[in-house]
């Protein structure tokens, strides 16, 4: 009998082009997503060396990080120029490089444009069992469909463009097994925040995580994308969820997914992509779903997670000396005092968006809380930034845009937006944002900005009350 393998080992083994004795392998890359921020120097490198893109057919480029989320056409139907000269130069570089190297390109005015990690699955570009990379650490998201997907730096972007491969060493494997069911009003975002809080921001370093348990089998693809997306916040370059009938149903009929007889052959192959009984993981963590409440971060690392029913921790309560020092610095930056209940922390800004939480289900969850309600008087800005033009259109067909607008939100065009503030959407210094994004780092949403990571429903609850709030008290 063949040796029992994990899902990760199966995908890895199917992509080895060349194996060296020192453990490094050349791994074939099936899918490469390219955006404007991490690619200009890679294309320049190709140009200087006189190299071509080996497989433009496996590559897809789209602008997302810099694009403004304000209307892209004026009332006369003319394209609105991008005001920031640096952003404009970077976007123009991608607009030039993609056709010059024969790479398929989705333009900022195309209805399909959006955040790379939203449009990959949406277009059926992401497939189970494929290896997928992008010069962006949240590429981990695509693991939700059973793709081995991870972020790379610009030198690696250039390497993949030139060779369609990467030189890699096999990672260790880590199982995160979630037992039981999530309590009502606890979302996939709360689950992944809780997991990161448990294992720490470096808990998965050197590992590829596989999320296992019935919670994930019952979870929608959108929810799985939220979970896998934040694997990197636990230090893991990639996170996997085994593909199943829900995955196949999600992909069937997507524009770039296989069709007809190819589809049947693909599904037959995808059904083999699961961890065998008896396969060994290097590390295993068990989480009890019943323990999880709607979660919120208090500090400047995604591991700084507490339930919304909790309080800001006392730095002295941490066993590790460096964590004590870090916690104090975090509290100073966040303007918080130990012992304050999180539900008493006022917020001025709300951001619903990012590759973590900008899909249709996320917008539905936030709209369900906002329906018939309005943002509190202390809220200075409330943004909804759909993950793609197609998400935006679907939300409008469902009337969600009206709910957001009537509740006092701004309904924007797709992009990365205030998740990292490369475009004009930023949180002012010293002000506080309840954000559905993935990073609460110092300065992430703008210099001096204070970020609390939450689920879409929790962001909506904070908008209504003007403070971090337990969504369960509103429904």
């Amino acid at each position: 009998m063949a040796q029992a393998k994990t899902l990760y080992e199966k995908i890895w083994d199917a992509h080895v082009v060349d194996q060296r004795d020192d453990g490094t392998a050349i791994i074939f890359i099936d899918r490469h997503l390219v955006h404007e921020v991490t690619s200009p120097q890679a294309f320049e490198g190709l140009r200087m060396a006189g190299r071509k893109v080996r497989r433009p057919d496996l590559t897809l480029a789209v602008p997302d990080h810099n694009v403004p989320t304000t209307p892209r056409f004026d009332t006369a139907g003319k394209r609105v120029p991008i005001a920031d000269p640096e952003s404009r130069a970077q976007l123009e570089a991608l607009e030039r490089n993609a056709p010059a190297f024969g790479v398929p390109y989705i333009d900022a005015t195309d209805a399909r444009q959006g955040i790379v990690h939203v449009i990959g699955p949406e277009q059926g570009f992401t497939l189970p069992g494929c290896t997928m990379v992008c010069g962006d650490s949240h590429t981990a998201a695509h693991g939700a469909l059973g793709a081995l997907a991870f972020g790379i730096g610009t030198s690696e972007v250039e390497h993949v463009l030139a060779t369609q491969t990467l030189q890699l060493k096999r990672s260790k494997s880590m199982e995160i097994r979630v037992e039981g069911d999530l309590p009502p009003s606890v979302s996939p975002k709360d689950l992944i925040l809780h997991i990161i809080g448990q294992i720490g921001a470096a808990g998965g370093t050197g590992h590829v995580i596989e999320y296992r348990g019935k919670v994930f089998e019952q979870m929608s693809i959108e929810g799985r994308l939220t979970v896998a997306n934040m694997s990197i916040e636990a230090g893991a370059r990639a996170g996997l969820i085994a593909p199943d009938d829900a995955t196949f149903a999600y992909l069937k009929g997507r524009p770039m997914a296989p069709k007809g007889a190819d589809w049947d052959a693909a599904v037959a192959y995808w059904r083999t992509l699961k961890t065998d009984d008896g396969a060994a993981f290097d590390k295993s963590v068990v989480i009890n779903a019943a323990d999880i409440a709607p979660s919120v971060t208090w500090g400047t690392s995604p591991e700084d997670v507490v339930p919304i029913t909790g309080s800001v921790p006392d730095p002295e309560s941490f066993a590790d000396a460096s964590k004590r020092a870090a916690a104090q610095k975090s509290l100073d930056y966040m303007g918080l005092t130990a012992g304050t209940p999180l539900s008493e922390v006022p917020v001025e800004h709300i951001f619903i968006g990012s590759c973590t939480n900008s899909r249709i289900e996320d917008l539905r969850a936030a709209a369900a809380v906002l329906k018939g309600r309005h943002t509190a008087s202390g809220i200075k800005s409330a943004l909804v930034v759909p993950g793609s033009g197609l998400v935006k259109r679907q939300a409008e067909e469902e009337g969600l845009d009206r709910i957001f607008i009537e509740a006092g939100f701004e309904w924007r065009e797709p992009g990365c937006s205030a998740c990292l503030g490369m475009n004009p959407d930023k949180v002012p210094a010293g002000e506080r944002c309840a954000s559905t994004s993935n990073r609460n780092f110092v300065g992430r949403q703008g210099p001096g900005a204070r970020t609390h990571l939450v689920s879409p429903a929790m962001a909506a609850a904070a908008a209504v009350t003007g403070r971090l709030s337990d969504v369960r008290t509103l429904t």
Partner: protein, 197 residues
């Protein structure tokens, strides 16, 4: 890439843990289409703190940075490595590094030296007054006080760094193996090529 066999000199005794790449280089500096000049934005939020090590004249021009656990976590931006190089930093010593950062550092000829926390604590002390010496060939970090710490490094990375090898060129030398893989892939899983958009 320039060959590298040792890094020696003063070191920034920074020591912080979970230093993410947004701290190393904030997003507003990522709008460049070049690799140059990013030192100006490096550690911007830290440099706003009075008495920070990066603006302390005692450490100006140090080629080594000493940090805490999980250095370089977060975003995959290679700008973090470019910013360090622009500051003149060519080696970072820490108890652990994020996977993506250590790969980016390697591609840019920055040594990432993993040492236990006790060794890092000791080097933080030494750095306040004296120089630190990293030797790649013998995989050791030494001080003028007879401290000697050995570190592990992937043998392939070590060879590439010491010989200044171009990784893309190395892989392109395996073009036949890549072509053979592609031929087998088209035969076994022809549906893997995306339907044209």
């Amino acid at each position: 890439m320039q060959p590298i066999d040792r890094v020696e000199g003063k070191a920034f005794p920074f020591g912080r843990k979970n230093v993410d790449t947004d701290i190393i280089i904030p997003s507003r500096w990522l709008k460049t289409i070049s690799r140059e000049g990013l030192g100006a934005g490096a550690f911007e939020s830290i440099r706003a703190e009075p008495g920070n090590v990066f603006d302390d004249p005692d450490y100006a021009g140090s080629p080594i940075l000493i940090a805490g656990d999980n250095f370089g976590c977060g975003s995959s931006r290679e700008h973090a490595a470019w910013a360090l190089i622009d500051l003149g930093i060519t080696a970072v010593i820490a108890p652990s590094f994020s996977d993506i950062f250590s790969s980016n550092a390697f591609k840019n000829g920055i040594l990432t030296v993993v040492l236990p926390q006790e060794a890092v604590d000791r080097l933080m002390e030494v750095a306040k007054t004296d120089t630190i010496h990293i030797d790649l060939e013998s995989q050791t970090v030494t001080t003028p006080f007879q401290d000697r710490f050995t570190f592990e490094i992937d043998p392939f990375r070590k060879t590439c760094l010491m010989q200044g090898l171009d990784e893309i060129g190395l892989t392109m030398g395996k073009a036949d193996a890549i072509s053979a893989y592609e031929a087998k892939l088209s035969a076994d899983r022809p549906w893997m090529v995306p339907v044209a958009a």
